[in-house]
């Protein structure tokens, strides 16, 4: 807060009294908001910003013409859905009055408040909203680099990686061993690896019944653990083995040529290898100076303004959002709250104290859904869960409830992608 005041005063000081004395009505210059990243967080923020402040000049900067959504991409991997169902363009967002710049954000001058794109364009801004998502931390797992990902796909950014893993599973002989490595926290979509493990086990059980999935995990505890473990015991006793940290599950290195995973306790060679590697905020976060030593971006819990660079707001996977998990649901909810805060700040108000919801649905099979939900507020300088709210689906829920949750999961995806891209 203090920093912010100082930097504003710095700008004013350079201007002299003429500007300060200018009458309010001459505020012709439209406020300029630039948004980095056309994914769940960024596309939502840009659209919501334009809706709240139609007079604002809102520019969405995206490094892809087509966004490929990760939620439900685990169904694509097991052949239950096509990748095209995951793809979204920006036409409706442009129609809503947002200018879309199709180039990567390259550098940010936080004190001059100018963003420079890879194509050389410079975009001055009054406020910048960054939702650039994650990058794989290629230094995070010995042996795992970009070339290794062609042999041992991560499929943790949807697109060609998703179809690569699918083709490998399809090509595998019955009787093959599939091995998946799961990282320590934090990473994008905490329950995502376990949904993927479930769906791969379901695929093996129904299509390649002599095969098995081995999950090597760097943690002992994970999201919706009791629900997943009991579903696995009931549905996939012969097709899924999960090995946690204390049983030697942590993968120390990989050997891509032989599809080998090296753990403290031994070596596992796979027929199909899926490595979910350690991650960090996308590279632009470090370039902009908004990421800290952890690789993620500290923020104010009410406005999502960076703790490191005033005038820049960060949300979605790249941000340190306290108790909120890194999910598309969170990114969408945070973007709406952030846009409201930015609109309020730009019109001279004080941002209200927000409430946020997250719900992560996971599919154990295509018609067996479970969820974890939470309601959040700013408390003690971080985003905290409201006591007594949230939790996971009931442990004793009958099959029709699991089926209903699978339907609601699909409904959520339809609704959120329509709200953002439709």
């Amino acid at each position: 807060m203090m920093k912010h005041a100082i930097s504003r005063r710095g700008v004013i000081a350079g201007l002299g009294a003429v500007t300060l004395g200018a009458p309010f009505v001459s505020a012709q210059a439209a406020p300029r908001v630039v948004v980095i990243g056309g994914g769940f967080g960024g596309a939502t923020a840009a659209r919501e910003m334009k809706a709240l402040l139609p007079g604002a000049d809102v520019v969405l900067v995206t490094n892809e013409r087509t966004f490929t959504a990760c939620p439900f991409s685990n169904l694509v991997i097991v052949g239950e859905r096509e990748l095209t169902a995951q793809e979204f363009g920006y036409r409706s967002i442009e129609k809503a009055g947002v200018r879309v710049a199709y180039s990567a954000a390259k550098s940010v001058d936080g004190s001059a408040r100018v963003l420079t794109l890879e194509d050389g364009t410079t975009l001055p801004f009054d406020r910048l909203i960054a939702s650039p998502g994650i990058d794989i931390n290629w230094e995070g797992l010995p042996g795992y680099g970009m070339a290794a990902a062609e042999k041992m796909p991560h499929a943790w950014k949807a697109g060609t990686q998703t179809t690569l893993l699918r083709r490998q599973l399809e090509a595998m002989d019955d009787g093959g061993l599939v091995v998946m490595a799961v990282p320590a926290n934090p990473y994008r979509c905490p329950p995502g690896p376990y949904e993927r493990a479930s769906l791969i086990a379901h695929y093996l059980k129904t299509r390649k019944p002599k095969s098995k999935l081995l999950v090597l995990d760097a943690k002992d505890m994970f999201s919706k653990q009791r629900l997943f473990l009991s579903a696995w015991a009931a549905l996939f006793p012969d097709h899924l083995e999960w090995v946690g940290l204390s049983k030697g599950g942590k993968v120390l290195s990989v050997e891509p040529e032989s599809l080998t995973f090296v753990t403290e306790f031994g070596r596992h060679t796979a027929a199909v290898a899926n490595v979910i590697p350690p991650q960090r905020a996308a590279a632009i976060a470090a370039a902009a100076g908004i990421a800290d030593a952890t690789g993620w971006c500290p923020i104010d819990p009410a406005t999502f303004e960076s703790r490191l660079v005033p005038g820049i707001h960060v949300l979605g996977d790249a941000s340190i959002a306290g108790a909120m998990p890194k999910s598309a649901f969170s990114a969408n909810a945070q973007a709406k709250v952030c846009a409201a805060a930015v609109a309020t700040l730009l019109t001279g108000g004080t941002p209200p104290e927000p409430r946020l919801i997250n719900t992560c649905y996971s599919l154990v099979t295509p018609d067996y859904g479970i969820s974890v939900a939470g309601v959040y507020h700013p408390a003690g300088g971080v985003i905290a869960e409201i006591k007594g709210s949230g939790g996971v689906s009931r442990a004793d829920a009958p099959p029709d409830v699991r089926a209903a949750e699978a339907l609601y999961a699909k409904g959520w995806f339809t609704t959120v992608t329509r709200e953002v891209f439709g």
């Binding site: 004013i12 730009l346 209200p352 719900t359 007594g388 609704t415």
Partner: protein, 99 residues
């Protein structure tokens, strides 16, 4: 550049008179924008019921019975427990105004 600087100057002015300009901003009450992650306007192909067209009183009553458990639910009980009565009333009134 001058435009931006002008604007920053104005922001400062505006913040001296709180809410002077903010009056033109219509923000949803706290929490309401998150409901829209699952609840779509009518016409969207989803199993989640739409909230559009409900009266505020209906939404308040349902939220309260989700919270108490009187109305069984898959997820709404867990969400409703995160909101106080005044918060629910504000959200319900806002939804009732949506077209």
């Amino acid at each position: 550049m001058a435009g931006r600087a002008l604007f920053v100057g104005l922001m400062l002015l505006a913040s001296v008179t709180p809410g002077a300009h903010a009056a033109t901003l219509e923000l949803p009450p706290a929490g309401a924008s998150s409901c829209g992650g699952c609840h779509a306007p009518p016409g969207v192909d989803t199993a989640v019921p739409t909230l559009h067209g409900k009266t505020a009183a209906e939404i308040v009553a349902q939220m309260q019975s989700f919270r108490s458990g009187a109305q069984p639910s898959t997820v709404m009980d867990r969400i409703a427990k995160g909101f106080t009565d005044p918060e629910i009333e504000a959200i319900a009134a806002w939804y009732a105004r949506q077209k």
